[in-house]
């Protein structure tokens, strides 16, 4: 389906991850891997543990058991800062933008780890601080152009319609120039046209920047269209893993989706 792209080696390996909240088992001994440059989808019914999985990878949740291997580095306990440093970026299911800030500033925050000027330099807009600010601004403008949101760059994000907020959320993650991008239902609540735009952005990011993508999505059409491999979760357990076609033909998956067994 996606001609020229070369899928590389395993970049992210999740081994035996278990996560519980009190008595609720959100994830039970989940293992799967993600290869460089691929688009990997995670699907499953509501409450299956998809978001929990992304939260574990990005260090928001600490699993009780298991190991994350990212780019050859082993993390028994990932935290958000380590994940960001390592090149993991993500968007949120319930948009988590900085409401009081403009689109531009929201995306600029994605560059925080790359900005080195100290407090005094920033206070006096001094050589390094000013240069740094301009250089990163130029980079952020590229992202703004890419996402076609030039016209709203100065607008406070709180005033934007939902679809555009999702785009800004993606922009902020892209600004980190991540090696892997985790997208939690980037198209939820969008109309057909917005979904098409978003699919195009995701494919372009994957294609042009070579970014590896892990995608949670409910829209089966989209998942089957754009992903290389799919993991299926149900009640915190992995019930399927493979190519879109293989997953679609898997009886356990069909059952979970039809709700026959529950």
């Amino acid at each position: 389906m996606m001609g020229e792209r070369v899928i590389g080696d395993v970049i992210l390996d999740l081994r035996n991850i278990s996560l519980a909240f009190g008595g609720v088992k959100a994830l039970t001994e989940i293992s799967f891997d993600v290869r460089e440059h691929e688009i990997r989808a995670i699907i499953g019914p509501n409450g299956a543990g998809k978001s929990s999985m992304l939260n574990v990878i990005s260090g928001v949740y600490r699993p009780q058991q298991g190991e994350i291997v990212f780019h050859g580095e082993h993390f028994a306990r990932m935290n958000s800062y380590k994940a960001a440093k390592a090149g993991i970026a993500r968007t949120f299911q319930n948009i988590a933008l900085f409401k009081g800030m403009s689109v531009l500033d929201n995306i600029m925050t994605g560059r925080t780890l790359m900005m080195k000027a100290n407090l005094l330099q920033q206070a006096f807009w001094w050589g390094p601080a000013r240069r740094e600010e301009l250089a990163h601004r130029a980079k952020v403008e590229e992202i703004i152009d890419f996402l076609e949101i030039q016209h709203i760059r100065k607008t406070p994000v709180g005033r934007l319609p939902y679809g555009l907020q999702k785009r800004v959320d993606l922009g902020r993650a892209l600004a980190m120039e991540p090696r892997i991008l985790l997208l939690d239902e980037p198209m939820a609540g969008m109309n057909v046209e917005e979904k098409q735009d978003m699919s195009r952005f995701i494919l372009d990011v994957n294609d042009q920047m070579g970014t590896t993508i892990v995608l949670i999505e409910h829209d089966m059409g989209v998942v089957m269209d754009i992903s290389d491999r799919v993991v299926v979760l149900d009640y915190g357990k992995k019930i399927g893993d493979g190519s879109p076609d293989a997953v679609r033909a898997n009886p356990e998956v069909i059952q979970a989706y039809l709700g026959a067994s529950h």
Partner: protein, 358 residues
Amino acid sequence: MIYRENGQFKTSYAADQQIFPIVQDRWAMLLLLVVAFVGVPLLSSEYLFRAIFIPFLILSLAAIGVNLLVGYCGQITLGAGAFMAVGAYAAYNFSIRIDGMPLLGALLLGGLSAAAMGIVFGAPSLRVRGLYLAMATLAAQFFWDWAFLRIKWFTNDAPSGSVSISHLQVMGWPIESPVEKYLFCLTLLAVFALAAKNLTRSSIGRQWMAIRDMDVAAEVIGIRPMFAKLSAFAVSSFYVGVAGALWGFVHLSSWEPAAFSVDRSFQLLFMVIIGGMGSIMGSFFGAAFIVVLPIFLNQMLPWLGELVGLSISTAAVSHAEFMIFGALIVFFLIVEPHGIARLWSTGKEKLRLWPFPH
């Protein structure tokens, strides 16, 4: 000149990133500086300097400090008064205990001492927020109230913590007359306000606001809450501390701990709420409002009373003051949490489109 940005196209990000990207705003700012540095000194009376301008400048500085923490970083503090006290008493100790300590040096060291205390008393913010953090900062207030009253070393054995300082000068220039004091405070405030504005539009300011708006998302992009929160406490307390030192040294000349009581903490918080959270300019509005309102009421209420044949006592005036503040704070918290600054910018937006509102 019509207030417009039409036709003012930015050809570079540098141009777009200026503090005041709109030409008319730059002119207005310049005019304001000329009025402040030249006009006011030429026209003002000694009374106006003492009663209005000097307190306004110093409290504006403190309000900027509180705003950086409360408005930009979203942390609450009820201990700003204590950090003013730390600034004032630390500056006092540096200047009496170290021979030849210059005034500016003492003020900045006072600010740095307050910054250090800000980090210590801000540490609970890493674990608690809202009401609990308010309690922790209130504890700072009571601790320092007590310390400056009871620990004699801090006040050079002065009874009841009352100390005084005199013969202020900066590099041979005396800071004695009200005009000199005014210009000294104004210069410092101009520099500090500019620095605050720069911080808020730089990486550090964005980190503060990110923590304020959505801390989980902030962490995920690599912002460390500890660094963001403690730097906000440090910078904020530095500003408040320098303001405290100025309040003691320049405005009061001699003072006791009561000058920096919990009332002061609340007053600063009110300035930020009324003026506008998350706005440097709002800090000025808030300070102006709180300095001028009592004086205005003192003059106006008795006069109004006479018009309708009532005699209004000073006690009644101060009651009225409390009631008006209370009502305004409730109003702003409910209706316009971004304070006067937001009303101002809405007005400007209307003006930008005037006379065609679409």
